[in-house]
């Protein structure tokens, strides 16, 4: 079964173009489209997709609000922010809201498919510019309880850009166990996404900033 994707954008022509292009990739299946944030949340609840491509600037309910709602209610669904240059400043907000990564609307078409696949695999990919911007912001609160040795190990690998599968292979545990560890890590750090967990690792010196 392919990666189930929902497209959210207020511009019909963009949704149409994305559907056409992504439809070429056999691993990706477009399961639904929404024109604004409110529609997106309803659709995700209904379809439980693997990945949501989320436009940020939309009328009524914007992409950031929708991302936060989706990540809170459906943590299994990853969100990729889809932005144009005009919304660049919103990227950091989107990451804080729980987006795993972001794509500019001028991105090479191949990178678009790769990003969706990475997100589906739980891989964090951020540009150095966005990492720097996020790191400049106020530090997140201290973990409510310290991470275990194993969790710290998982966080280090996660921050290095490994997927769940790769982490499982490296630590010789099952992928399901990795997911459970990640879930604990997010809960203990009080963050919404793997990306924010990775940023925490960078900030605490667990690893250096990665390159996408």
């Amino acid at each position: 079964m392919g990666i189930r994707v929902v497209i959210v954008d207020d511009h019909g022509i963009v949704r149409q173009g994305l559907r056409m292009f992504l439809g070429l990739d056999p691993e990706i299946e477009i399961v639904g489209e929404a024109a604004n944030g409110a529609g997106a949340v309803t659709l995700v609840d209904e379809l439980r997709p693997d990945v949501v491509l989320m436009d940020l600037l939309m009328p009524t309910v914007d992409g950031i609000t929708a991302t936060r709602a989706i990540r809170r209610a459906f943590p299994e669904t990853e969100v990729i922010a889809l932005t144009s240059v005009l919304e660049d400043s919103k990227v950091a907000e989107a990451i804080r809201a729980g987006a795993i990564g972001y794509l500019l609307k001028d991105t090479e078409a191949d990178a678009l498919c790769a990003a969706i696949k990475a997100a589906a695999a739980g891989q964090t990919q951020l540009s150095p510019a966005v990492t720097a911007r996020l790191l400049r912001e106020a530090p997140p609160p201290e973990p409510s309880e310290p991470l275990t040795e194993r969790e710290t190990e998982v966080l280090r690998l996660l921050a290095a850009g490994r997927s769940n599968k790769e982490i499982a292979a490296e630590l010789v545990i099952t992928e399901k166990t990795v997911k459970a560890h990640v879930s604990h890590i997010l809960s203990k750090l009080g963050v919404a996404s793997r990306t924010q967990a990775a940023l925490h690792a960078v900030r605490t010196g667990l690893t250096g900033p990665q390159t996408p």
Partner: protein
Amino acid sequence: MIARLRRLVPSGDAGGNALSSHPGLRALAAALLVLVALLCAWWGATRWYRDRLLADRRDQEAVSVSLYCNALSLAIQQQASRFQELHAFVQANPTDPQFDLHFRTYASALYAGSKGIRSLLVAPGDTVAYVYPLAGNQSIIGYRPSDDPRDSVRADARQAIETGHAVLSDPLALPRGSVGITLYQAVNGDMGHWGLIGMLLDVSTLMDDTGLSAQTGSFALRDSGGHIFYGPPEVFARNPIIGTVELPEGAWQLGYVPRDGWQVPAAEYLAFDLAGLAIVLLLPGLTYLIINRQQQLALAVERRTAEIAHVSAQLQESHLLNEQTKRVAALEERQRLARDLHDSVSQALYGIGLGAQTARRLLDRDPSRAAEPMDYCIALTKAAIAEMRALIFELRPDSLEREGLAAALAKQTEALQLRSGLQLQSALCAEPALPLEVKEALYRIAQEALNNIAKHAQATHVEVEMSEQGGAVRLRISDDGVGFDPQGEYPGHLGLRSMAERARNIGAHLEIESSPGQGVCLQVRVPLAEGKG
């Protein structure tokens, strides 16, 4: 400039406050100063005036007194000449056997002719033998002046005998409280010294003859020896007017003091004093009024200057505010254009990119399916071109003026149709005869309405209509979208407000009809006549 004016205003206020808190202080001080100076002058003037009045009165009295003195002097000399007649009579008849009778006859005539004579006496051999009148004077018979116990009387008698001239005695007290003076002269017979004659004069009666009366004041007489013999002696201690009474031998002094002393009646100087006082009080009042008025004027000028400066500063400020508003408006306009570019051209180009990529891949795999993305690209290109035209139209300031409102609305609807895929029907009349600012406002209202439809309405059909009827231009835009409650709060309400404001500015009537689920119908009516104005 503003900063400088602001500095001026408070300093002006401060000065104004200091003055206004004591508006008449300076004037009051000046008035008091004038009052004090004038009171001193007034006091001096009243003193001087009273002295002058007194001096005048003394001068007047002095004239009267000298007249009295002359009169008294004359009266005495008159008596002295009568005495000379008596002397001639006696000298002629010393041996007359009927001397007694003749003397009485002569003396009675002399006596009756003059009130001042108290008695006449003849003393042959220096012993008084005849006296007239005899009644009450019998005691004088046998009196010898040269044997009088008083030195002065004896000296007078001796002098009269030795010189042969008439001798006036010093004043002597007479019985019944009167003062008398006596004239003595020697009479010579054939055998030398025969005897003496005398005449006793009553000074009071003589004084009465002069018309000098105790009613107008007190007067007193003193002889050459300083002996006060007539009148109250204290007169000479009361700063009297002194007149000289010339006598055949020596002189007397007459002292005169008015009955009420040397005082000027209040009535004479009261008017002067009061008039002076009135001036004294009036002038400080005038000074106060004048200076106070000046101060008030200066204050008013100062206040007005401050006000003008303040208003000027406000004008500058409002000018700056206006400039700022314009800058903000320009900035908002640029942001709107950027948003429009993002919403339309930028999305279209992204779509074209995606479509081209898709087509490129399908050419390798399944060229028969490449037509769909290619058509998509072509449609997007058309839409992008329409959007660009509409945007460029807006960017050129004279577009509306050059191409007209109808053309502008046509461009907008075409761009929206291509961008959104909405079904648009437009019915636009010929270019209406409206001023440019009215056209501009209508265009912006239409643009805002179409934007709202594209963003919020979720409509499928949109109608744009411009018509001219009944002397008014009507613009009507309606859709079949989700509608909204015009009374509710929406993020788009800012847009609604700006539409309403634009309509109000051109004197147009704006009407928006809608309810949830019923679409929106917007109408603007602007009268042609008012539009031309």
